[in-house]
């Protein structure tokens, strides 16, 4: 294998969920000013795209960093089943106390996926819409790549 090149595998998943941006530490006016229409009391939804990047050795027997079926099943179990067609505020315990901004969502997904057993999680990138995206690589500075 050629060690001059570092290879990463990227896989995209989609889920749809609702959220409301509202901080209990702010007044009604401040919430309204900070979050604008995202503070609408009944919430709203997005089609999220989650991009997961993994690194590791390419197994010469399979040509793979990670078996996609294993990765898909892991992401399905850890993230999609709990987030898809849910209210992030009401249905995901992590967001009872934390505002479900996509920054926080990205970090939460990273925490849920970082123990994937057969390859190293480099970073998680979440698109809230086609125009907004967020990336998180944990403490892993190597993961902060373009």
């Amino acid at each position: 294998m050629n060690n001059a090149v570092k290879i990463e595998l990227g896989r995209r998943y989609r889920f749809s969920a609702s959220h409301r941006l509202h901080s209990p530490h702010l007044s009604e006016e401040e919430n309204c000013r900070v979050y604008g229409k995202c503070n609408n009391p009944y919430g709203h939804g997005h089609n999220y795209v989650v991009e997961v990047s993994l690194s590791g050795d390419v197994d010469p027997a399979t040509g793979m960093i990670a078996n996609l079926a294993d990765l898909d099943a892991f992401v399905q179990r850890e993230v999609l089943e709990e987030f898809d067609h849910k209210s992030l505020n009401e249905d995901v315990p992590a967001f009872r106390e934390k505002v479900p901004t996509t920054e926080n969502l990205c970090m939460e997904i990273f925490q849920r996926l970082k123990n994937f057993p057969t390859a190293k999680l480099e970073r998680v990138r979440v698109e809230e819409t086609g125009k907004n995206s967020f990336e998180y690589a944990g403490d892993n500075q190597e993961g902060n790549r373009p």
């Binding site: 090149v5 290879i7 990047s53 390419v58 027997a61 040509g63 960093i65 079926a69 902060n144 373009p146």
Partner: protein, 143 residues
Amino acid sequence: MVLLTRKTEFSASHVYHNPNLSAEENRRIFGKCNNPHGHGHNYTLEVTVAGEPDPTTGMVLDLKELKDILEREVMQRMDHRHLNYEVAELAGQIPTCENVARVIWQLLDPKITQGKLHRVRLYESPELFADCYRNGANPAVKR
């Protein structure tokens, strides 16, 4: 430092099969990608070169030159080809997205002499891609 990216697309077929494994193991590991007659994808390749713009031309490298390198090294080798049987550089390897991306990196790296190859990203589908970087390269280089 400026990063310049050129995108191109090619279509190719492949099959995942390791002759050292049993038929059942091949099916278990590779699933439908093990279908003996193969299948194909529209690949999208993004090649990113890093460098300082030349003060005279304002360019990191001439895009036409990069286009010609991609045509010669990648398109002529891989477009409308069977990756298992027609690409010598992939002989003996399973033509996964990871391995095809690495071969493309190895083909392009010595040919790009103005600026430095920074990243090869190969999409096998919109949902699956592989990235190659120079190992040990400064990860602080951002977009």
